[in-house]
């Protein structure tokens, strides 16, 4: 089975969208997600998010090792597999995750999330998920075109 690789950097949300975007592209796709050093927690958060939100995604294996990239750094690798149709299994607020990543302190997160939801008249987390995946589709298209041989 072919697998695609994702390297997670400083945004757990981006990592989450990359993993989910790739898993959505194939019927039984496998993704190998990797992160180095301080970005390991972002990979862990993305994997928790993707598996908490959807059934049909299984963690095949996880490993932590160390590598030399200029200096010695820890490396976390998670292999995920899509098995069947993806279905939502839990409500985790992507709005809250976005606010956390933009720097809202943990103590105020829940209050800020509810205040924005009240202001907007609902929780836009589903819309945010769609937009994250649409961004990935745009990036795939631009990348594929740039890699196509010139005619």
């Amino acid at each position: 089975m072919s697998s695609e690789e994702v390297v997670c950097e400083e945004s757990a949300l981006r990592c989450f969208a990359e993993i989910l975007g790739l898993l959505l592209r194939g019927d039984s796709a496998e993704v190998v997600a990797r992160a180095y050093g301080k970005n390991i927690s972002n990979l862990a958060e993305a994997v928790i998010l993707v598996t908490k939100l959807f059934e049909g995604i299984r963690i095949v294996n996880t490993s932590i090792s160390s590598a030399i990239k200029g200096k010695r750094v820890s490396v976390m690798t998670v292999r995920l597999r899509r098995e069947g149709e993806l279905k939502n299994k839990g409500r985790v607020s992507l709005l809250e995750h976005l606010l956390r990543e933009t720097g809202i302190p943990a103590d105020y997160l829940s209050k800020e999330t509810s205040s924005i939801a009240d202001e907007l008249g609902g929780d836009p987390s589903g819309i945010l998920l769609y937009l994250l995946l649409l961004l990935r589709l745009i990036e795939y298209e631009l990348r594929e075109v740039s890699q196509r041989p010139c005619e």
């Binding site: 945004s11 939100l53 939502n88 990543e101 929780d123 819309i127 998920l129 961004l135 745009i138 631009l142």
Partner: protein, 85 residues
């Protein structure tokens, strides 16, 4: 905080697209799509979001990026001109 502000924070946060001008155009388009979706159903579920992805086409025609989102009652169509190289 407005939905537009949230969408722009999202695009900046996930650091998509290296080209700043393209990122700005895409962020504007996403903010517009978000408004359209919110007008129909602000509380879109995650399953509905995945379903909508399967009704979305993104393709390049000549030097223009075209995004088509098929909603139940209408098709949203956006064109973004790319830099000529």
């Amino acid at each position: 905080m407005s939905l537009e502000r949230l969408v722009k924070d999202l695009v900046n946060r996930v650091r998509s697209l290296d080209d700043k001008e393209l990122r700005r155009k895409v962020a504007d388009m996403l903010a517009d799509i978000a408004q359209e979706l919110a007008y129909r159903n602000l509380n879109m579920s995650y399953d509905e979001a995945l379903e909508l992805v399967s009704h979305t086409r993104v393709f390049l025609k000549e030097n223009t990026l075209i995004i088509e989102v098929s909603l139940r009652d209408t098709v949203l169509r956006y064109k973004i001109a790319l830099h000529k190289t």
